[in-house]
């Protein structure tokens, strides 16, 4: 039995001197290998009587397990030490900034257009688009603005030739759609897009801007429907507590025509500098489609009636965010664009 103890002691002593994983294999072979010292002890069993063998065998196995466990524990300790040493060399300063994987952003005007599109898609509208170079016929004449109409002064335009111009509003898309529908089915569309007017660029004027127009034509479309629709639009843009106010106005393509004000979101209608102390802010123009417009686009005004409205996208953005200069939208400063990426 003493042989067992001394074998164990010499193994443990040898183990303590091993600091490399490779040397462990040698030690393992010396003691636990096929010709190892523990194996030799096992071979000594054949010299024993059958009665002694089981106890002896058990003792050898126990020794073998003990050495094995010690070896494995030492092996794991060495491995851990090696990994830790490796990791220590990989230390970093986690406070250094990460790679710039930030996303960009869609233009604020696109965002407003898309949010209005989404509102109207939810209300069952389709989105119609059209060319920016338009004929005088579609841009003016079919909208009840014949040549020499005094209201043409209101929209000084970029002409390309006497019959072609850059559209001054997206209304020609409404005309195109009504003609496409052939006067016999309901129209429920919004028309976003770029429009152009001969205005010198300054803080509040731009020769190019974005507009969204809406058109509903059906047999029972009323001005009350227009009011309800515009209220939804105002609330989507400026908050659920907003109210609207309609004032009489004039557009050749609608009658009655109205200017639409939204209750001031800044002062809740009590009067402030944003609403010029009126409690209301003008946001868009609208009205019931003029009989002549329906007629010229193939709809019988005795059967069909409708409403239309038009909104300036820049103006909405300027009001909503307090942007003071319309030219910011066309400068495309990333510091500006990034402000709207939430």
């Amino acid at each position: 039995m003493e042989a067992f103890d001394s074998l164990k002691q010499s193994f443990l002593k040898a183990l303590e001197t091993v600091f490399k994983e490779a040397e462990l294999a040698e030690l393992k072979a010396e003691y636990l290998g096929k010709k190892g010292k523990v194996t030799q002890l096992m071979q000594a069993m054949k010299d024993l009587s059958p009665e002694e063998r089981p106890a002896y065998g058990q003792k050898v196995n126990q020794l073998k397990n003990e050495l094995s466990d010690a070896l494995n524990a030492h092996k794991e300790a060495l491995e851990n030490a090696r990994i830790e040493a490796q990791l220590a060399t990989e230390k970093i300063d986690v406070t250094l900034p990460g790679h710039d994987m930030s996303v960009g952003s869609s233009h604020i005007l696109t965002q407003i257009v898309e949010s209005i599109e989404d509102l109207f898609i939810g209300l069952g509208y389709q989105i119609k688009e059209g060319p920016e170079i338009e004929s005088d016929e579609y841009n003016f004449e079919k909208l009840n603005l014949p040549k020499n109409h005094p209201a043409r002064d209101m929209q000084d335009s970029f002409y390309i030739d006497p019959n072609t111009l850059l559209r001054t509003h997206t209304s020609p898309v409404q005309v195109r759609t009504m003609l496409e529908y052939g006067g016999s089915k309901p129209v429920k569309i919004i028309c976003p897009g770029k429009v152009y007017r001969r205005d010198d660029d300054d803080a509040t004027h731009s020769h190019q801007f974005m507009q969204i127009e809406g058109l509903v034509v059906d047999q029972k479309t009323t001005m009350a429907d227009l009011k309800g629709t515009l209220l939804k639009l105002a609330q989507t843009m400026f908050g659920p507590d907003r109210t609207i106010r309609l004032r009489p106005s004039y557009f050749p393509f609608t009658e009655p025509s109205v200017e639409v004000d939204v209750s001031c979101y800044n002062c809740e209608g009590t009067g402030c500098s944003i609403c010029k102390h009126t409690g209301y802010i003008e946001i868009l123009g609208a009205g019931m489609v003029h009989d002549n417009v329906l007629k010229m686009s193939g709809y019988d005004p005795n059967v069909y009636q409708g409403f239309a409205f038009g909104i300036g996208v820049e103006r909405i953005a300027m009001l909503k965010y307090g942007i003071e200069d319309i030219r910011h939208f066309y400068t495309n400063d990333m510091r500006f664009l990034r402000m709207f990426n939430q």
Binding site: H99, G104, Q126, A151, M154, Q208, D225, L246, N332
Partner: protein
């Protein structure tokens, strides 16, 4: 249109607060720009200068001024102050424009109690007067500053083109009467004619004049108009000139009918003919300018030569002057469109031409003539001759419109009764009768804007109040949604934003020089550009995006990655997508940056095209503005749909840039290849095998052709080929390069043995070496 509250009071006797009127007008009639006092001064009183004394060593005078019952001592520096004058005094406590407070002050050692004021001092713009010194009133008699109009309030209306009926005080009065439901006092004019007979005959020779009336006023004296009249004109925004001209303007504002006064003694004949001008006829208008006329301009003639350009401007030779004693007063109805054309062409737009252009109430032409004639006689000390010169062609009479109540409620969404509807129209002084469920409306000629059912519905709607209408949503049930194309567009934008790009929106109008090197076409020009920089429609978005890069570089921001989707205007208008990239991307500045190069750009483009369901080939190409060896055309199905590349150093210089990569893809052309459908193919359960092989090829061989040839070999189970290494240098020749391919094999029905793959590889390499004249690099 400026509305003097005092003037309005001629027709509306009810007391109305100007602010309240402004609010009501805004909500029911027309936009109100402002409500302001005619004079921005408070605390003005009438004073009479009783005595003036010189003050030693001063040019000031010590004045005794009677103000009400009190006598004040006021020191006045104006040289024109004199005893006996009626003047305006800013009393102690008065406020003058600019917030100046009047207090008792010691001037030249004298206690001065108030200030005798000039028109400048009470805030009258120089365009209305040329006075220096204090303002001396005509003997005021029983008048007060109130009755003379110095305390008037002015409402500035912003009229829309349809409401020509509001371009007169009487027209505004009709509206006020309707909105407040108060009585309207209609104008009454009595002309006291003399025994002299009006000798003038008038003849109309053109359809462009509906009626021409005239009166003769004899023995008048030209002088200044009285204070009240001048103040009313100033309230209307018109400069007072003399009693005759002022009366023509006054009655125009009052009743909406433009008038013209001729010096009758300068007209040789007694017949006035209205005719259409011949082309190139010339005429000198009263501003001294010789005008070349066009066929159809309306001319007033003495039978031989022109004396006025009808409705636009009088003639120099027949103008009323200080010597005038006999006036021929014209009140005419000219063609609206023609006046608009003539006045615009000659840039002679006036209050008169504007009224003609918008349309005149025919039934006021004679009323205006009589009113003005009598006023001229009164103010000029003359007499009105007997009889009216008269020629008529086409004078409006009232017209009928029948309006079913169902249409009113059907459009407005209301539930008005027939009585309510009738009552609203009656408030507007329209003549309404009811037949069953139909309103029969007789429209007076002053309301030229009411011609249709729809016009009447608008009247009912606005007077009733749009804010009283119910709030509902359309009952039309339609399917809403984006089209496939619109959905795709949004998807592309989100994808690019996700990659870190910013969306830009730039101007469509550009300068054609900016497009040089990108396109050879001239571009479409607009006829009257506002600036050099915005004169033609762009044919490419890239210069605009390079401008965005330039803007940022000038501000020390060198990493800029932007895109834009917008229309370009080539032979037709199409939508394109453009990107411009500059500076490292997704970097951490403290580390070695991943450089931006052609292949970063190509990676972005390839995946954008993936989103469209399109595969493009990149074909080496040349564009003068781009790098000659780093530019490619994007080809889909044999059609060029765009281009991409590194920007040429010379182009970079023009934008002060160090590097930039750009791409432009015609979405319009790509549309034809859109693939919206996703397809399911079962994922292989079997392991894939990958093999590498390198080839020595000609240096000029495009890598893509090697990949294409490998795929075209149709080797069984080969499903992907990629280039994983490109090598040039020793031991290869200068004319050679090595391209290493990685090949992926998969058999869905089983696993491969090494020999299987070897056989497939042999088959492939044999194909490639034979078809491309290349050899395996060993």
């Amino acid at each position: 249109m400026n509305v003097s509250m005092q003037w309005l009071n001629d027709y509306i006797k009810a007391t109305i607060d100007p602010k309240d009127l402004a609010e009501k007008f805004s909500l029911h009639a027309q936009e109100v720009a402002d409500v302001t006092p005619l004079y921005q001064a408070e605390g003005l009183v009438l004073g009479r200068v009783l005595k003036t004394e010189t003050i030693p060593d001063s040019k000031n005078k010590k004045c005794q001024v009677q103000v009400g019952d009190a006598i004040r001592t006021i020191v006045c520096g104006a040289p024109n102050v004199a005893a006996g004058q009626d003047v305006i005094v800013a009393d102690i406590g008065a406020t003058l424009p600019g917030g100046i407070q009047i207090k008792t002050a010691k001037i030249n050692g004298i206690e001065s109690a108030g200030m005798i004021v000039s028109l400048d001092e009470i805030g009258l713009d120089k365009k209305y007067h040329q006075e220096t010194g204090i303002h001396v009133l005509e003997p005021a008699g029983a008048d007060s500053l109130d009755t003379l109009g110095f305390n008037d309030q002015v409402i500035e209306l912003e009229l829309t083109p349809n409401r020509m009926d509001l371009m007169s005080m009487l027209g505004v009065a009709y509206e006020v009467s309707a909105l407040y439901e108060v009585p309207l006092t209609l104008p009454k004019v009595t002309v006291k004619e003399s025994n002299q007979v009006n000798p003038v005959k008038t003849v109309i020779d053109t359809d462009l004049c509906d009626a021409y009336y005239g009166r003769v006023i004899d023995d008048i004296t030209i002088k200044e108009s009285p204070e009240w009249l001048k103040n009313r004109l100033i309230a209307a925004g018109i400069r007072p000139i003399n009693n005759i001209v002022d009366v023509t303007n006054y009655v125009m504002i009052d009743l909406g009918q433009p008038l013209h006064a001729f010096d009758l003694d300068t007209i040789p004949s007694e017949t006035i003919r209205v005719k259409a001008a011949e082309a190139d006829e010339t005429f000198t208008t009263l501003d001294g300018q010789e005008r070349t006329l066009q066929k159809g301009d309306i001319l007033i003639t003495d039978g031989k030569k022109p004396i006025a350009l009808g409705g636009v401007m009088g003639g120099l030779d027949t103008e009323v002057s200080l010597k005038t004693t006999r006036v021929f007063l014209e009140s005419a109805l000219f063609n609206a469109t023609r006046i608009g054309q003539t006045s615009r062409r000659l840039d002679l737009r006036s209050e008169a031409s504007l009224r003609f252009e918008r349309g005149i109430a025919h039934d006021r032409a004679l009323l205006a003539l009589d009113k003005a004639a009598q006023m001229m006689a009164n103010l000029g000390g003359g007499t009105v001759a007997q009889g009216i010169s008269k020629a008529e062609r086409n004078v409006h009479t009232p017209w009928d419109i029948s309006l079913p109540l169902s249409r009113v409620n059907g459009v407005l969404g209301t539930a008005l009764t027939i009585d309510e509807a009738k009552q609203i129209l009656s408030r507007l002084h329209l003549d309404v009768t009811v037949q069953g469920d139909v309103l029969m409306v007789l429209v007076p000629v002053r309301r030229l804007d009411i011609k249709t059912e729809q016009d009447l519905i608008e009247e009912i709607g606005r007077v009733y109040g749009y804010n009283q209408l119910p709030i509902t949503l359309p009952s039309t049930n339609t399917e809403g949604g984006l089209t496939a194309y619109q959905r795709k567009r949004r998807q592309i934008k989100r994808h690019l934003e996700g990659l870190g790009l910013f969306e830009a929106i730039t101007y469509s109008l550009t300068h054609p020089d900016k497009e040089k090197g990108f396109t050879e076409a001239k571009g479409t020009h607009v006829l009257r550009p506002l600036s050099e920089d915005h004169q033609s429609l762009r044919q490419t978005l890239i210069p605009s995006l390079l401008d965005v890069l330039k803007y940022h570089h000038a501000r020390q921001m060198e990493s800029v990655h932007v895109f834009e989707m917008g229309h370009v205007y080539l032979t037709e208008e199409t939508e394109t997508l453009a990107l411009a990239l500059s500076g490292p991307w997704h970097e951490a500045p403290w580390k070695v940056a991943r450089p931006l190069d052609f292949f970063v750009l190509k990676g972005v483009i390839t995946h954008v095209l993936d989103l469209f369901g399109v595969t493009a080939t990149f074909k080496p190409a040349m564009l003068p503005a781009l790098h000659p060896h780093q530019t490619a055309e994007l080809v889909v199905d044999g059609n060029v749909v765009g281009f991409c590349g590194a920007v040429h150093p010379k182009t970079l210089n023009a934008y002060d840039l160090k590097e930039a990569f750009v791409v432009e893809i015609s979405i319009g052309k790509l549309k034809a290849y859109f693939n919206e459908e996703n397809r399911y193919i079962p994922v292989s359960k079997m392991p894939s095998v990958k093999r590498d092989v390198a080839f020595i090829v000609d240096e000029a061989l495009p890598a893509e052709s090697l990949i294409k040839a490998a795929l075209d070999a149709h080797v069984d189970h080969l499903y992907d080929v990629e280039i994983f290494d490109v090598y040039t240098g020793k031991p290869l020749l200068d004319t050679e390069k090595s391209l290493a391919l990685r090949l992926y094999f998969n058999d869905k029905t089983g696993t491969f043995k090494t020999a299987d793959i070897d056989r497939l590889m042999d088959q492939l390499t044999a194909h490639l070496t034979q078809t491309l004249n290349i050899r395996i690099r060993t």
